[in-house]
Subunit: 215 residues, 2 copies
């Protein structure tokens, strides 16, 4: 279990959406400058060598800011580069297996999309650190995603779990305040930063929106 | 490095070609009855949970026959189930990283398709155990495969390496004898067994063909 982490503005870095390896590094730096509090690498179209090459360049960037860096799905890539943890989905390796492979200090997040998956996750105390709940809205980023849970579904998941919960799925500047009404621990975004004309500015605007919603 | 292994008849088990999880277990058992000497699990279309569920059922089957069981690409799945090793391609995790994660006793194979990749592999003494050379022929199994190297290319690769080399790519009963003329350590097959009406018989016929070619 990770001693401390901040889910407020959780960047899911998709290097294809960013425009490739070098562009992804630039987006990560800019997003951290703008206030991203956690970075996840997710590159479903990429071979693992490309994940490895990018992940080992991202790690010192996130380390320099004291922000955790996790790998989507691939526990082996996380181990290979010494990342801070993984984020796994319902069809990835089981959470207890990931914990066994990564050790007690890793940060492990699990995606849930409904109350059944949330109830299952509740049995994983000591195994996982947080939940990713969604998709809140329909999103073109993840073509195999579950049915959107909406704001009400997000609020139900949050109320049903002891774990801090980051909302994900179709979250953009224009709907961030609405999502925050369900009181998640934070917002996870992909295209809202990866495809932004100014990723630093996009991250800063989201952070401001999150801060306003909490007051 | 694996103390001993036999590349003679190397089954690349594709559970989708077999017809699913249960069918893949049946094909593996039948192929081992027919004389397969090594089993690799390769399911590029599958999520990792399905790999994990199948791999942990395959391992006791291969262990009972004393045949090594390796995982294609996913070092984390190999670690999760305690498989005997991995087979990696040029775009997977680097071989030295896989060796570091899997430890000194794992069996690690590397795909090469030309003399440049073979020359690179020659620097990996102590890291990898064998080469997979191919595709020998064009094959519909692996849609992103390199240009076929042919029998002459296979012979060149074999002559350029100190590693035992298993030929792969489009190998079927009707061309097995032709491939063996390049004197590989063995033949790797996918559809020739996974799609066979009688996988045990298909494996036995290939073993017989390999034995004849060696006399």
């Amino acid at each position: 279990m990770r001693a401390s982490f901040d889910l407020s503005l959780y960047l899911v870095l998709d290097p294809v959406q960013c425009g490739g390896h070098d562009a992804a590094l630039a987006v990560a730096r800019a997003a951290l400058d703008g206030g991203a509090t956690l970075v996840q690498l997710r590159a479903p179209e990429w071979h693992k060598r490309a994940w490895f090459d990018l992940a080992r360049e991202l790690l010192p960037i996130t380390r320099a800011r004291g922000v955790p860096f996790v790998i989507n799905d691939h526990v082996d890539v996380a181990l290979a580069v010494g990342a801070d943890g993984v984020h796994i989905g319902q069809r990835d390796l089981p959470a207890d297996v990931a914990r066994r492979l990564l050790g007690p200090d890793a940060l492990i997040g699990l995606s849930v999309s409904n109350l059944d998956e949330t109830a299952d996750a509740e049995t994983l105390a000591g195994v996982i650190d947080y939940l990713g709940a969604g998709p809140v809205y329909a999103t073109p980023t993840k073509t195999d995603a579950s049915t959107p849970c909406g704001i009400d579904g997000l609020a139900e998941i949050r109320a049903a779990t002891r774990f801090p919960t980051v909302a994900i799925g179709g979250i953009q500047a224009h709907n961030a305040a609405e999502v925050m009404r369900a009181k998640p621990a934070g917002l996870a975004v992909v295209s809202a930063i990866c495809k932004a004309a100014d990723p630093r500015e996009a991250a800063a605007a989201l952070r401001a929106s999150i801060a306003r919603a909490r007051t």
